[in-house]
């Protein structure tokens, strides 16, 4: 119980720091949104109208900064994220976000978890067959793939599977623009087809790290006395591999997974950008291009929340796998 409270406390603290950074960075950086907005609208709007637009997303230069800060925090938590001032002028930020969220969760979320599970599995098998053919080929290959930039892998896949094959696989958007979203076989097939290349990109660029760390953890664990003990007791190989070794080797990998999620998000933003995939990362890029501050703020908060939720899930998975964590409340 103490463990849970502690983790939730950390969750709240991190979220608060992120939100605070998010609030203060724009206000302490050179240049202000008013000027940016004036430049964007080519001085065609009256200063009063501009000011009103800024007020609509909580930028009130004449108000006490502390009052502004509290109001900003309240708005962030209650979902009053303001109105977009970018390309989609006037649309509520929450609408844009809810439209983009499912695509990112479906593409990035599913692929990341898949890459992690698949990578861990391959790592376990490679370590188990230490010195086998798989084990001598895999490490150098995945050292290389884990150092590749996500966006470049995406570009290369587009080149090979879309440009050179004359559009064999689509290289942008989430589905063909002439289709209407509906729950039909044809539409789902189209969506999946559009997801193949971006998903493959994330998989290729991220799986190497999981394989390597899992393999290394597994090798260290296999040398432990309790594994030898299991062998001496005459347990089956599969039981030793999964229950004795993999279960323990998984623990550092899980926390590693939680810690590198930020890196995965980085890669995914770039992947969505390369493939024009209308998820959160693509929206962030758009927001940046159009100096759409309200949208940027909401998106950054969502990214932080996403990482924190994933972190909590990992924590509880670790607590479930490792009785020591449950007993002492910390590691």
């Amino acid at each position: 119980m103490r463990y849970v409270v502690r983790r939730l406390g950390f969750f709240a603290l991190t979220l608060w720091v992120a939100l605070t950074l998010n609030f203060f960075i724009p206000r302490f950086m050179p240049g202000n949104p008013l000027d940016a907005l004036r430049a964007r609208t080519h001085d065609r709007l009256s200063p009063a109208a501009l000011e009103q637009m800024l007020t609509s997303y909580g930028f009130k230069p004449h108000q006490n900064i502390f009052v502004q800060y509290l109001e900003y925090l309240r708005n962030m938590f209650t979902g009053h994220w303001g109105i977009s001032i970018g390309a989609t002028l006037g649309e509520p930020v929450s609408t844009i976000v809810w439209q983009a969220l499912p695509w990112t969760l479906g593409l990035v979320g599913v692929t990341t978890v898949l890459a992690f599970l698949l990578g861990s599995l391959i790592g376990v098998v490679a370590a188990w067959r230490r010195g086998g053919r798989l084990d001598s080929v895999l490490p150098p290959v995945f050292v290389v793939t884990s150092a590749l930039p996500y966006f470049w892998v995406g570009l290369m896949l587009i080149l090979v599977f879309s440009v050179w094959t004359h559009g064999w696989l689509p290289s942008d958007f989430n589905y063909d623009p002439d289709l209407l979203p509906e729950f039909s076989l044809g539409f789902i097939e189209n969506v999946l087809k559009h997801a193949v290349l971006p998903a493959a990109t994330i998989l290729i660029a991220s799986i190497g790290a999981w394989i390597l760390t899992m393999r290394n953890n597994m090798i260290t664990t296999l040398a432990e006395d309790y594994v030898r003990m299991g062998r001496a007791k005459g347990l089956s190989n599969s039981r030793i591999m999964t229950d004795y070794a993999a279960r323990n080797a998984m623990l550092p990998n899980l926390s590693g997974f939680a810690m590198s999620l930020g890196f995965v998000i980085t890669g995914s933003i770039l992947v969505e950008y390369v493939f024009n995939y209308p998820g959160l990362g693509y929206q962030l890029y758009n927001a940046v291009q159009n100096t759409d501050y309200p949208l940027m703020q909401a998106l950054f908060m969502l990214f932080t929340v996403a990482v924190l939720v994933a972190l909590l899930v990992c924590d509880f998975a670790i607590a479930w796998l490792d009785p020591r964590v449950r007993a002492t409340g910390s590691r």
């Binding site: 086998g132 930039p149 290394n216 980085t266 962030l284």
Partner: protein, 310 residues
């Protein structure tokens, strides 16, 4: 404290500094390959003039859209620049960003990690809390937002941002390693001898962690390289500078892939990847050096081990 843990078991302490490392590098094929790649890039970065006769790689001085030829090894861009020359001159900035940002991030990691572990108590709680917060906050969106507000990002802005966001992972590792060292006998005896705290940390404890520090540096350098390339790629770098990321930005904005100039995209990305691979290879070799269990197994040993097991 944080529940975020790092596997430090693999990074055992190297006994002797220097001699052990060089000998181990000589034994490891991976480290050699990594070092050779790194060395080649270093030479290109220092004397780019040796590798191309073009002196102003960004000037629009050639016929656009030429294919590869003896004149232009990788062809020319749709703007009329020599791709090979851009590649050669771009090496310097990309390498400098990786190395400088990696170096400063490592210094920060070591300072924070060691201080936290050595002092313990409240300072440790505060420092590890800060470290974990920085670990978790998604840095790239933050960098994007930061870079947008900072306007056209100069090299300095990019470097500062990379250091600020890149130190936390290493600090966490340093802290864990230092904690496990704190009560070892050789540090205990230094304390009993009445040595100063700074002496103990810098002369006794840190040298035993050389391999970990090198690994942290390589990780931070890789992070900086990839992040900077990503930033420049989406147009948040200085579009007039010479770097691989900037090349990728221009090739993307000119749709190089779709208009039959794939080399413009392939070449700079390949260079980023190669430099990244060299960092990763050296890092991996360091893992094998500090943890002999990870070294490649020779066939003979495998057979013997199998016989023993059955």
């Amino acid at each position: 404290m944080t529940g975020l843990l790092v596997d430090t078991s693999g990074r055992a302490v190297t006994r002797r500094r220097g001699s052990g490392l060089t000998a181990a590098i000589r034994r490891s094929r991976k480290a050699q390959v990594g070092l050779v790649i790194l060395l080649v890039f270093c030479i290109v970065a220092v004397v780019p003039g040796l590798f191309t006769s073009v002196r102003h790689p960004n000037a629009l001085q050639f016929t656009p859209r030429l294919g590869p030829s003896g004149e232009h090894w990788l062809g020319t861009t749709s703007l009329g620049q020599d791709i090979w020359a851009q590649l050669v001159y771009g090496t310097r900035q990309s390498l400098v960003i990786a190395v400088v940002a990696g170096l400063f991030a490592t210094v920060l990691s070591v300072l924070v990690g060691v201080t936290a572990a050595y002092l313990g108590g409240l300072p440790d709680d505060v420092l590890s809390m800060i470290t974990s917060v920085f670990l978790v906050i998604p840095t790239f969106p933050l960098i994007i937002i930061f870079a947008t507000y900072a306007g056209k990002s100069t090299l300095i802005v990019v470097l500062i941002v990379l250091v600020v966001t890149g130190w936390s992972y290493g600090a966490n590792q340093m802290r864990a390693q230092m904690l496990s060292l704190r009560n070892r006998e050789f540090l205990e005896s230094a304390r009993v001898r009445g040595e100063r705290r700074t002496y103990i940390i810098f002369a006794e404890a840190l040298p035993t962690m050389t391999s970990l520090i090198v690994a942290i540096f390589l990780g931070a350098a890789l992070y900086s390289l990839l992040t900077a390339a990503g930033l420049q790629f989406i147009g948040l770098g200085d579009p007039d500078s010479s770097s691989w990321g900037t090349m990728l930005y221009w090739s993307e904005s000119q749709s190089a892939l779709q208009t039959g100039m794939p080399l413009w995209s392939i070449a700079p990305g390949l260079c980023v990847a190669l430099l990244g691979v060299s960092f990763a290879l050296i890092n991996y070799a360091f893992d094998e050096i500090s943890n002999p269990a990870l070294r490649p197994v020779r066939r003979r040993h495998v057979k013997r081990a199998r016989d023993r097991n059955t």
